[in-house]
Symmetry: C2
Subunit: 117 residues, 2 copies
């Protein structure tokens, strides 16, 4: 009975206080797709406050903000990815896609060690 | 002013309840090096109970246990990696090593987006 291959999840550690992983990346993607922090938070099943904290953290992890208010106030109005935000999302997803492919053999080896013989 | 390149951390998700990441892997390595759960827990700055829980979880994530008591009781006696434990540790570290190298370009791109211009 073949098990599905393990899924690789990545986290980039910049320093002791700054890192980016699947949670923040999924949030950026939800924000790109919905155009609002409120809607992105709902998609991610997290509070607006939590989403805002993660975005604030991301905005302070890079030289330029990753997310900018697009129109109206912060709560009601829209928000969108900046060029830096789109670039970070793109680089992360590219590494993720390549990694899952590059390490398919090793991930299958791990999966085989899980299968009851 | 060049920043150091981001460090990649990996987590393998097997299913909704089973995963293996840097914490469990470092614990396995500490256990291999110290030969005891108590000493490995101390190295990892975690309680014996927490180390034991992680090991119990690992032992139930694979077909064979990854850690076995080597002599004496569970608390006082030693513990060691089984063949499966050594294999899992080896596969994980191999992926980690290769990933850091394979994605050096992308990780530098991310790092550059962090540098204040």
């Amino acid at each position: 009975m073949p098990s599905p291959t393990a899924t690789l999840r990545l986290r980039m550690i910049f320093d002791s206080r700054h890192a980016i992983g699947p949670g923040k990346i999924d949030l950026l993607e939800a924000l790109r797709d919905t155009g609002s922090i409120t809607a992105a938070a709902r998609t991610m099943r997290m509070s607006y406050k939590r989403a805002w904290q993660l975005i604030d953290d991301l905005n302070h992890s890079f030289a330029e903000p990753l997310v900018a208010a697009s129109k109206g106030g912060e709560h009601g109005g829209g928000a969108e990815l900046t060029d830096t935000g789109r670039r970070v999302l793109e680089i992360y997803r590219s590494i993720e896609r390549k990694a899952q492919k590059s390490f398919a053999v090793e991930l299958r080896q791990l999966t085989r060690l899980r299968a009851r013989s």
